[in-house]
């Protein structure tokens, strides 16, 4: 099992570049620090998984990502204004096509909206998913709350700016 924390994100992403698996550039730490996006605080831990142990994080869900060429995922918890909790997953794929494959696999819902962010973005009631190049980002809140959509989109913009 290879489970890493903190600075291991950079190591994983560097490995992607060194291995020549298709990333155009090395991505810096994609997670905004606490306070970098108004109201959002980052959790202490960042976990990373590669394709070989992705199942430890998302069980059978890993197969879909592996088929689309996942290199790895980094995940961290966030809290908005001290109460609303969310998880941010940043998937690095081998190519932009892989990120699009995952993004397009989700059927739309009646309350989903396309948003101007990255190459494509979709806002749902309690979540945001967007892709930019070979990166796919999913932000999932654990509960519904007033103003949640705006808060999630603000965090999404904060992440997108670091990709």
């Amino acid at each position: 099992m290879m489970r890493c924390t903190g600075t291991a994100i950079a190591a994983l992403l560097a490995l992607v570049v060194v291995a020549g698996v298709g990333c155009k550039k090395q991505i810096a730490d994609p997670f905004p620090a606490s306070g970098a996006v108004a109201g959002w605080e980052k959790g202490a831990k960042t976990q990373s998984y590669d394709a070989a142990n992705l199942y430890e994080y998302i069980d059978g869900g890993a197969e879909q990502y592996i088929s689309a060429g996942v290199v790895g995922v980094s995940t961290s918890d966030y809290k908005y204004q001290g109460s609303l909790e969310a998880t941010v997953d940043v998937y690095t794929m081998k190519s932009a096509g892989g990120a699009k494959t995952i993004f397009d696999a989700d059927p739309p819902t009646t309350d989903s909206k396309s948003m101007p962010l990255g190459d494509a973005a979709r806002l749902y009631g309690q979540s945001v998913v967007f892709r930019k190049g070979p990166t796919l980002v999913r932000i999932t809140a654990f509960e519904a709350a007033p103003g949640e959509g705006d808060a999630l989109m603000a965090l999404a913009h904060g992440i997108e700016g670091k990709l």
Partner: protein, 329 residues
């Protein structure tokens, strides 16, 4: 119980089935005997916050267990399920985080009832494959002597010796092997390989190599895994948290594809519980205008395998399932 109005929808044989199924554990039971599955729902389960109402969770648990065991008080079912001095563990499905994991309130209520039935707190373990999963579901890891343990198999370890059945060769969690009884606590989720993950698929979290068993829609792996003698004998009761269901995009938590079921499902027949649960996900998918799981290419072929003459883990025949649905108002 007070302030409770019951709507009993017995889909098969009426109140006469209430006592059936109690002896059905780890087999399909006697010929002609139906497998009992109880679902209790409470539309007022939720609070404005993220956690459900603790008192209503306990009331729902008591109601489900009393119905299943035809018991007159909340303690009686547990005295039928366990014996004082036994080591009991609760196998969570906490991988999806707190929004799609057995609630802390439900686990606390079960631990309380177990202790009232004579199980020492120190002989109760709440567990899942990974400690991180437990934490993400809101449980505080603890290994304090004399208290309920909250620990992952990644910490407790796996047995050195491998066990096998059919297509499966694996190593079992030490938490499982050292338990006299494991209560299986799945949650209701779509799964993009097997269609629906519930009781039987939750056993992927008791072994060291689950990633090797996802091919061919996990069939016959799921059924074979549940045939491992330690799993079949020890994991003999299911208490599934149906507060939230995921009908698409699983097994991760996907709020955009989730619904509030606000219920609890209990029973001994793991195949029957999975069959009923699969129907719930299928109905929700139809309601939302999605394809059926068969059409999507994720048919639950493992249900028939688990019920076949080789495995006999339970029944997937709705005509042989005594489903009792009740609602707390």
């Amino acid at each position: 119980m007070q302030n409770r109005r019951e709507f009993v929808k017995d889909l098969v044989a009426g109140a006469a089935v209430l006592g059936a199924g109690r002896k059905v554990a780890w087999s399909q039971g006697k010929a002609g005997e139906k497998s009992k599955v109880v679902i209790v729902r409470d539309a007022k389960l939720r609070t404005p916050g993220p956690a459900p109402d603790e008192k209503r969770v306990t009331a729902m648990l008591d109601h489900a267990m009393q119905t299943y065991f035809s018991a007159q008080n909340p303690q009686q079912p547990w005295k039928q399920l366990v014996k004082p001095g036994q080591v009991v563990s609760l196998k969570m499905n906490a991988m999806g985080g707190r929004a799609i994991a057995p609630s802390v309130a439900l686990v606390a209520a079960i631990c309380e009832r177990l202790q009232q039935a004579g199980i020492k707190a120190g002989d109760i373990t709440v567990w899942d494959r990974g400690s991180r999963d437990l934490e993400s579901a809101g449980f505080k890891l603890s290994d304090a002597a004399g208290a309920v343990r909250y620990v992952g198999s990644d910490t407790a370890g796996y047995e050195d010796a491998a066990v096998s059945y059919g297509s499966v060769t694996t190593k079992l969690s030490k938490i499982l092997t050292r338990s006299d009884l494991v209560i299986n606590m799945p949650v209701l989720k779509n799964h993009n390989i097997v269609g629906v993950t519930m009781a039987m698929k939750n056993m992927y979290g008791v072994i060291n190599n689950p990633s090797t068993m996802h091919g061919t829609a996990c069939n016959p792996y799921i059924a074979d895994l549940n045939m491992i003698p330690q799993i079949r004998a020890k994991v003999r009761f299911v208490i599934g948290d149906l507060k939230t269901g995921v009908y698409e995009g699983g097994p991760s938590y996907r709020p955009e594809y989730s619904w509030n079921e606000d219920g609890l499902i209990v029973g001994e027949d793991r195949v029957a519980i999975d069959t009923i649960s699969a129907g719930m996900v299928e109905r929700k998918r139809v309601e939302k205008g999605l394809s059926t799981l068969d059409q999507k290419g994720t048919p639950m072929t493992y249900l028939a395998t688990a019920a076949d003459a080789q495995h006999k883990l339970g029944t997937n025949d709705l005509a042989r399932i005594a489903l009792i649905e009740q609602r707390i108002a």
